[in-house]
């Protein structure tokens, strides 16, 4: 019965009938739709530079040549300063986005904000991360029941890791030696030795395990199970569950604060983020969301990203098409940022200047300027982008 329910839930999630508008057709736009061009970003970036230059008012026709030259120099210097302050040249990173439906990983250059390559992977890629040394990208391909390993240099699949059936999300310890994989269809968490690329064992957890996070000291692993509505606290040494904390319906994602003082768990159906004290194993607070004019059911928190200083958290709100900016201290939402449709997960660039979000239904990735708390760009990727990871 439970398995049936979970299957039904998953299929309904795939159909996107839980509050999300249907996938937009090409050219469709209202309803927070889709780009009208194939790859408008690059083109626009170019026209932008050209047009700023062209917008400069022409000097009067009678001006002396040298004076004109000087003035145009001054103007361009001033313009450069304006441009420099508004768009500092970013250190280029490489972002990897798993596309659940097109079975690919899109590679994005964070300097030009363009897709530079699309890597063919197994079926239904979702959870994605890089090894700590940045040499390999690991992607959970659920329908192939494995975790594929992509060489970051050659950008091809080179190996696979032995997970359980239908791996969805995974977490690795700080040293990058152990990998813990949530197997959605098997109610287990698989422990993998990353160096030997060998399966060490399984931990039995609740129904439909998904969210995974590990304490900064590597001693506690937290797994959330979507149907059991629990956050399971697992001791990594004994591989035993030490506590279960009940949260709101359908917990999808868990995130440790960097100072280890709190664990944030998002509940998709409950529409909240529960804040758990990891020592007392108690829910000590909740973040709630309210967007004027949007019905409550459309607000479905999933991915969470927290800045390194633990001051600001970003929460993806699924079919609400928004990222909530949360002040961690007060646990209050300070701003909602409009991104593409059905936003799932997110990742910061290593310098924390940008945050990338995957927008499942509109098939794109939105880029948020973290300091300005503004969405600056949206980039088309493959179908149903789900997870994102950025190389260090």
């Amino acid at each position: 019965m439970q398995a049936e329910m979970s299957n039904e839930m998953r299929s309904s999630r795939l159909d996107n009938d839980d509050g999300a508008p249907p996938p937009p057709r090409a050219g469709e736009g209202w309803g927070e739709g889709v780009s009208t061009r194939e790859n408008p970003q690059e083109e626009r970036a170019l026209t932008r530079i050209a047009s700023v230059d062209a917008m400069r008012p022409p000097p009067p026709a009678g001006a002396v040549r040298t004076a004109r030259g000087q003035r145009s120099h001054m103007l361009s210097a001033a313009l450069l300063m304006v441009l420099a302050t508004s768009a500092p040249p970013a250190h280029a990173f490489i972002a990897y986005v798993s596309n659940e439906k097109s079975n690919t990983v899109s590679v994005i250059d964070t300097d030009s904000w363009t897709v530079t390559k699309t890597i063919k992977v197994g079926q239904r890629p979702r959870g994605i991360d890089l090894t700590r040394d940045g040499k390999f990208v690991m992607v959970a391909v659920g329908d192939d029941d494995t975790i594929q390993v992509i060489d970051a240099k050659t950008q091809t699949v080179v190996d696979s890791l032995p997970s359980g059936p239908d791996p969805e999300l995974f977490a690795q310890d700080a040293a990058g030696k152990m990998l813990y994989v949530a197997n959605e269809n098997d109610n287990t968490v698989t422990v993998i030795d990353l160096e030997k690329r060998a399966r060490l064992g399984d931990i039995q957890v609740g129904v439909e395990p998904e969210g995974m996070t590990i304490s900064p000291d590597g001693k506690t692993l937290i797994n959330t199970s979507e149907t059991t509505n629990m956050a399971h606290f697992i001791d990594t040494a004994s591989r035993q569950i030490v506590a279960n904390v009940l949260v709101d319906a359908r917990p999808r994602y868990a995130e440790y604060k960097h100072d280890s003082s709190e664990v944030w768990v998002s509940s998709e159906i409950g529409g909240t983020v529960s804040i758990i004290d990891p020592k007392k194993h108690e829910v000590i607070g909740k973040v709630t969301f309210e967007i004027p004019g949007l019905r409550k059911e459309a607000i479905q928190p999933v991915g969470i990203g927290m800045t390194r200083d633990d001051k600001t958290a970003f929460v993806a709100l699924g079919p609400a098409n928004r990222i909530a900016v949360v002040d961690v201290a007060s646990r209050k939402v300070t701003k909602y940022l409009l991104v593409g449709q059905r936003v799932w997960h997110m990742a910061f660039t290593p310098d924390e200047k940008y945050l990338l979000t995957t927008n499942g239904v509109s098939n794109d990735v939105s880029v948020i300027d973290v300091a300005a708390q503004k969405v600056i760009k949206t980039i088309q990727v493959g179908e149903l982008p789900w997870g994102v990871a950025i190389a260090p």
Binding site: P24, G27, E28, G29, W30, G31, E32, G33, V34, S35, T36, R37, P40, Q41, R44, T47, R48, S51, V52, A54, M55, P57, L79, V82, L83, T85, S86, G293, L294, N321, L338, V339, G340, S362, S366, V367, K374, V375, I376, K377, T378
Partner: protein, 282 residues
Amino acid sequence: MSSITTREAPRGFSFAEYMTCLSGIVWREGLRFLHQRERFVSALVRPLVWLFIFAAGFRQVLGISIIPPYETYILYEVYIAPGLMAMIQLFNGMQSSLSMVYDREMGNMRTLLVSPLPRGFLLFCKLLAGTAVSLLQVYAFLLIAWLWDITPPPQGYLTVLPALILSGLMLGSLGMLISSGIKQLENFAGVMNFVIFPMFFASSALYPLWRVQEGNPYLYYLCEANPFTHAVELIRFALYGQINWISLAVVAVCTIVFMIGAILAYDPSRGLARRGPAGGEG
């Protein structure tokens, strides 16, 4: 004394004389605007009502796609902001021509027309003065919009200026052309309704044109032919540091055509104004 006799020696004016005339007209228009606080308030309230009430009501119903010059998803109020800026200029252009009808009725226009400078220049000064006033209104609107989280890139506030001047001139000269054919103040209200509303609604101010095209292709062509659409798009692109060349060309050509039309129409020796005794001038 008729204004025609004073216009008989319009030769050889110095640049300074032109400037004196220009500053006089701009100054008068500025003073008039500042003294009519209600006008300033109403000029601001109109777009703000659209922004706060209309857009707020529609923001969930009508999301928006990524269309140039935008690079990501935007809220509806961000989309209509350039349209509202153009609307401010449209109303302002019509209003300043309305003031010309009023001036003519009240006899103030004689003061303007006794100037020995060429009439074309006088009218151009009047247009510039009207455009300057519209700039004040638009920037006041942009300031309030900024508080409402409509935040174009900082350089956009500068790059939009030439676009605003050009579109202000175009809409002002259109208003002047229309006002030249109007004998009485009362008639003007009707024309406002026949000009302002169709121009505003059959444009890209409130909804992107491809959306209109889906609904009714003929309406789409009408919108495309509407110079106001191009004023809106010119402003929209300039606000994001870009140039929409087609819109720039359309607005520039329309400005020239309307301006020549207005100058011809206001020439008492030719054109429309001669056809009947007009108010105070008669």
